[in-house]
Symmetry: D4
Subunit: 248 residues, 8 copies
């Protein structure tokens, strides 16, 4: 309920067209979102240039299609994450604007132009196996209007590969570090820069990596300051958080 609506009620009270008790009841039942204190998802996204997001995993193609259709009415950009090829093909049936980022497993339906930020988000990976998660982060950030610099396969076991990228690393405004196995890259990167680092542990590894637990603990226990950690394999979450920060 926006101001206009509240005013209308008050006007009705004033001119006697609305009974006062009815007005009280009306005002007391105000849905929360109308009071302005809850974030209005619909408007905020468009205002911020943020896309609508569909988490496709665990949904049928038909379900994703239906949600996409409904969201398309708002004329905003849409992204479906954790989407297999069959999801992309399903969405293609309802709109030709869909683009598929295969490694990232993201479908993007582009309804509006996406501005590019001046400041760069660097997405850095330890190994090539971390790429799917890194791409989920990178594409998410890009669809949210950010310039992304991908710096892949610079894990700490070959520190010279990382150091050779120092210029690019120090030029970034926000950094996303994606690493599985021992996940040590986040500490090294955070030690080199004085910008916020978002660490994404991946489930890459075997044995005592325990599905990403090893990298997760490494990142949480980093002796370097300036690191925020997201869930294992949560590339989307990292890209989203980086976009929030880069927009400040």
């Amino acid at each position: 309920m926006d101001k206009a609506n509240i005013k209308k009620i008050l006007q009705g009270v004033k001119d006697g067209s609305i009974n006062m008790d009815d007005a009280v009841e009306e005002l007391k039942k105000l849905p929360f979102e109308d009071l302005g204190f809850a974030k209005i998802d619909e408007h905020r996204n468009i205002r911020n240039g943020f896309p609508e997001v569909i988490y496709a995993q665990g949904k049928t193609v038909e379900q994703v299609k239906a949600i996409t259709k409904k969201l398309m009415e708002k004329n905003n950009n849409i992204m479906a994450t954790r989407a297999g090829k069959e999801v992309f093909e399903g969405i293609l049936e309802i709109t030709s604007d869909a683009v598929y980022y295969e490694t990232a497993k993201i479908v993007v339906v582009k309804k509006r132009d996406i501005a590019k930020s001046d400041k760069t988000i660097a997405v850095i990976t330890a190994g090539t196996s971390d790429m799917p998660v890194a791409e989920e982060a990178a594409v998410t950030a890009e669809v949210m209007g950010n310039t992304v610099n991908r710096i892949y396969d610079v894990g700490v076991a070959g520190i010279h590969r990382l150091l050779a990228k120092m210029d690019e690393i120090m030029a970034a405004n926000v950094l996303i570090v994606v690493a599985g196995m021992e996940g040590a890259l986040a500490s090294v990167v955070a030690g080199l820069v004085d910008k916020p680092v978002i660490a994404v542990p991946t489930s890459v590894g075997y044995g005592a990596s325990f599905g990403g637990l090893s990298a997760l603990l490494t990142m949480l226990n980093s002796c370097a300051s300036g690191i925020g950690v997201v869930n294992i394999d949560n590339g989307f979450g990292a890209g989203y958080l980086a976009a929030l920060i880069n927009k400040l």
Copy 2:
């Protein structure tokens, strides 16, 4: 080794006062920090207005005093975290500029004025027992030049207490959410704002909280986007990361 030094060697080569082989050796041994690619902690801190930080836990009072003395030579601000009262008293013996933040367990030696940021960092806690960790975050952020708004004891079990603070919450540029036990507050806050949220699980709780593991997992698995998590009880890390972000 700054430009001047390299130039001096080159000049020596040019005018023949330095043998070429010696020059090669000299240049090959260049300590890394001199080449400019590694962040020069000493200068960066002062340039950024960041304080020198001493992690006092596990150090004797004498050790902390010695480090403080040495750091004081740089004429920069200094903060000692996880510092008991005896540490504060020890530092007082070498400088009267020391101030003690008892709940935060932080000693600050203020050598330079600390500017206050225009944008606010909100520090929000679920319960009163989370206050020591929250204060560690808040004081850290303040010493790093930020305006901090403390919003304490607004846990999700009484959601109206939280909602009553909506204006303050939505006014913040960066938010730090500190919660133990089930740690659910981070999700609720992140769902209300579109600013970066730094979540700090605390070890407050008993039984199946397993020393903060419960809150940590909650925060990592948040269904709300825009959350970065730090280690259990790591108030300093949260304050530092928030300061980095708020400075962008």
Copy 3:
């Protein structure tokens, strides 16, 4: 052995038709269930309007059919939980009274009318992916004679969606909260009502959700009072417990 049987033995002792030593032996061997101190499953279910329950998982269709057939002799309602479509089709072969609740994966064979309770059980979910577990709970409660109000997809990341349902939530006599990932919904709901809340963690999530462990710990550590937790994904258990409470 009911009273009648004991009386018959005593009568035999009295009139001499039963030797006293034989009577002693007979009485000492009384199967436990006959003494009345153990709950007589067969009678209790019918008396309470509770159905017979078959846990179909890990049983072959033939096994479930055989058990169903045998239970049908008692002329009581029957429900088979964790039942795939092939189980339903198998049961259909022996009775046309079978109904299949697909999302809940429950087959119900209705032999008696199910009364509807006046008091409502609310089943609340955080996300749409929690629906299968929620439906298992809801259908279980319904088959046990309860009026159920489903309030789905009101997770804490969008607190306004939850608050918009306040009236329905406060009208419930018992509440079942179903949530995966961070599982924070139970705390928020329990903080809003003063009725018993049954919390069901689900295995929805990935990475550090560790198969539902995250939501489970969250719910156990809730800072809100009035919550009882059941096993991960145990919709049936929640529905059953809610029915027991709602019947009081």
Copy 4:
């Protein structure tokens, strides 16, 4: 903000004493608690006969005294849980109405009479070491107006001790089962009754009990239906939940 206040604003709008824009702003800022959708702790407790609760652990005696003083103004009953003897003595200094339940570690300040429920809550323990947790549950339930029947030391390793109490067990309306080590008692009890069972794992045990984890998992995995589990050692939570149920 109650009806009266809203009406006053509307009246002001009607008679022109309040500017319409001011009224809109006033109404938009309505604190949440005033809208009636959030549970008003202060009133509810008195209405329900529930006491005010102070979690004393981690608070200084002075803090508990201060809170107690403030709560005493409402003239409601007060209970402080996890309270050592020094807390009791502190409270005694401000009111002679304080009573100390030593095993339960609960201080009760009784300002109003506590009605006794007709229906009984049974509190059952496996061993004598589980008594402190059981007493926390029992006293909590009693202070909340319930009749409690204590059935202690009837663990499953001597099943006859449990069965000898069958009458009392079956007479209860709600049952709280408190057990450490293997925690099997909850399953056995839930199999005997058709009333809700609240299971409280305790940290009693050593070695592979892992601080109560063993009992916790046992209770969550019970093959008996009708069990809700609370946190390890959470006697208060069990007593509170039982009281909520018994009040229905």
Copy 5:
């Protein structure tokens, strides 16, 4: 209720001195233990030569003394486990028959002679630090009437020490293997003999021994057959089980 009692009731029915309905009620209320199906602890212990056992940990000296006094009425042997010196001194005050096994932390009150079994129980430890647990097992077994052969400090890191004891090891009828750290000794011993082996993991170790978890898992996963495992540090349980087996 023994046969005599049942007969008396039947006699009453027969001769009319007992009303039949009363008899039915009487018989239905038969306490479980009277029916003979529950093990009568009091008689069994004496018949088997088993002592009464008091688990002293977590009990006050006064409590242990009170229980001891009561048990002494049965004129059976008594043992108190996990008993500190102060417990022993307390018991000494009520009986001069008490003996203290310091390493085992067991007090024994000997009221009857303890027969010695022909067949030997071997108690084997990996290191000297495992001795307290081993002694708890050994003394328990001895008090229960067994001949015990202690073979200590023969861990697998010096396999020759173990093999040098082959004769004694192969002569045992039951073997208890006590080991912390990696706990490998149980496998090696079970591979050498064809007698039952009871494995007791101890909490001896540090770091990744995780309080005995390492040894526990080792013993459970043994590739040798014929091993039963008890809880970490549960020397009493091992001694008791060995005594049960040795008695067969």
Copy 6:
């Protein structure tokens, strides 16, 4: 090397047919097994009536066939555990003496008669889903010459079903208790008898059963004495240990 061989060497030394240095070398190289201190698997099995055992899991049918063939030369009984139907069919190709126990997944090749013990091993399960593990235990014990009494589906949630079997339970010499989920049955049984109980946790369950961890911890923490635990799902290990004990 048996006595005869050693004597032969000594005789050679005595009569000079063997050079002394050669004799020394010969004696120093004595393979361990020849010295009698290592258990001679080949002979022991036949002497004890124990079968040869092949752990078929992870082996190809061809590998199992090859091992079977070789073992058949010793003319001893053979059992292959964790054997699928295809393994049985493979073995059938080389001997018609093979019998398949489908639920137990055991193939037995019977070359010698198996004596039946006088004393009975009871195999008790909590639920029907525990049957495969129970059958592995039961068949193993039978093939090792024991009389087995199967008492299935008597879990603690229906204690009367268990108590109704009291006579059979108390008649057993050794008891194997097989249970998943909360695994409480072992404690109850051990509390009823004074014979050794071997507890087998199973991976039956879901959610917080964590693949059998719940039942495992329950059994290790049992408050009843006289229980030895084997690995999760290790029916063979339980049957083997029970056979060792029953043979004493």
Copy 7:
């Protein structure tokens, strides 16, 4: 950048053909690897006789082929680990020099002769199921120029099998011990020799082996000195480390 290049710049400075400021910039931008402080993978491998290594798991056959092709240009030996048969067949298409080690799942492309070390690396396994991991270690060591002695199936449950191999075990310069389940073999071997032992836990086992965790903990907690542990199933890592040591 090698000495020659640095000299060239200095020469240019000396003879004036290079401007001094340009020289400073050039020297400051020296890529890290050129300064000699980072290990030059390309040269080191050939110098040491080490092969290029491709971790094939998670890579498509096409990707492995492409990497192989590129690496073949250096004319060094190549090994692809965790390579299925289809990987081997793919590589065969580009070079006939490929050899497949099926159990080890390693493809070797031999471009240079591999010298054999004088000192032996012993690879010892507890069971036959540990062979794939052991072969990965053995083949890795061989391809890196080492003489390997395989001693398989000598687990601690039959200690005589191990002791019968004493001569071979004591002759090794480095020992790799591969064991799953309880993993006790490493301790026994390390207790017998005074050479470095590399312990490889394997995921062989079930139930409480928790995917190799049991063996891992055992090896880390060994009471024998001289053991270094690698990740679960990490045969390659063990072979590589052993080769590094054997080369000293």
Copy 8:
């Protein structure tokens, strides 16, 4: 039993002074250690220059003194690890040769000169808090005859500090890396050198470091090759293993 002894027996057989049956018995009972296949601790230590080692933790001062006294008879060097000051003072009472390494908590009784190896073992730590563990490793290695180079406080959060030590790092023959918290240093170091790296996780840290688990997992999952891991805080084990390797 050495050759001489065997020969004596054979001689006795030959000349008839020993009865043949007695000789057979004598030979069959040969203690294992006499056959030469078990490592003769006493001689090996002296031959290798290895000290006798006493693990003082959990031993009384009197016990350590007694063991020291007995070991001193062999005239070999002795070291007591995990020894508090009171242990040192106790040993001083029996020998003035004792030296105390306070940070390492090691007492050394030097009876023989310790040769210094040509090749260096580098002991590297991430932080200053890791020093006690590092010193345990360093002193152990030194007492075992090695030249040790300590490189402390070069953690990955300030990679330039590490790289500044490149020369020393690359000059080492074996490297011990000691790190707590995230433990990433081992990967970085192993990536820089081609020498064996022994990684020692420490329990330094808090929260999600879980007593060293985080660093342990990091080191086990290292993407760098050539790392062997020892138990958390096991400086002695690392020093011992490094000494074994350096001696090759």
